[in-house]
Symmetry: C2
Subunit: 162 residues, 2 copies
């Protein structure tokens, strides 16, 4: 049995108590962009219920073209107006540099990725960087409520970056 | 009060019952790539607990360079070996075309996005497309367990795409 098989068994329990379908547009009009870190259960952290918010996640919770694509679809086609960014303490992205990571991939595969690894050295600075990238982008129309937070993996608390 | 403020109030309740910190590497060695759809509570759907799996999400649950970046970091730096892809029924990505969406943005802003919107016409075909993109990519090393599913938003059930 793989871990995937174990998780599929869990899904049977989830489905047994499931009430659907809910409407497609997020009921709370919010899109969350968070790090992929395993310790951030976004629905738990924000007390979200199924159907309430779009959740976009990647390594670092950074803003690249793909997050802009997702936010543009979220706002333009599905009516969200608020954005919540979540980075977190003890983030893996603080532990390496783009140059070293891409060099290690090049050494292993013979090919250097053409993308940035998006590593960063300071949490608050990178939250502000993510907010700045959204604010500067022409494709995301609703920019009145873009707020960024650092999730503390020791306490479960969101601390806002001003 | 904005919705964001309401969700921050929820976070206080979450933190009051939180036990941390957990280790950084995902305990179950799994990375999930899922659509951002509000109705997919990934931790609930798979019965995941905090700390167990990386969760990567975007509009459609598609694989672009940013998901490859996240999967490369997940596998190479944090030891995951299995990948679970989750698309879902009633997906917004089935309701428009790249050309129409990008034309509407160009009409609104004067600028045509340089990225693909990644809309698709068939769920199973797009799950297979996502698997094929990962399998063809040199930067993701662990490809022995890449399985794709369609989450049924009416029943809560994951149906595997073969």
């Amino acid at each position: 049995m793989s871990v995937t098989d174990d998780l599929l068994a869990n899904n049977a329990d989830y489905a047994a108590n499931f009430n659907g379908p809910l409407p497609l547009p997020p009921a709370k009009g919010v899109a969350v962009v968070a790090c992929m870190d395993a310790r951030i259960n976004v629905y738990g952290v924000l007390g979200l219920q199924e159907g309430e918010a779009h959740v976009i996640r990647n390594a670092g919770g950074v803003i690249t073209d793909d997050e802009i694509r997702s936010l543009a679809i979220s706002q333009r086609l599905l009516g969200t107006t608020e954005i919540i960014l979540i980075h977190h303490t003890d983030c893996g992205m603080l532990t390496f540099t783009d140059d070293d990571f891409k060099k290690s991939i090049q050494d292993d595969t013979g090919i250097k990725p053409q993308w940035s690894a998006e590593a960063f050295g300071d949490l608050d600075t990178d939250v502000r960087q993510s907010i700045a990238r959204i604010k500067a982008n022409p494709f995301v129309p609703n920019k009145d409520s873009i707020r960024g937070f650092v999730f503390d993996v020791a306490t479960g608390k969101l601390n806002e970056v001003s």
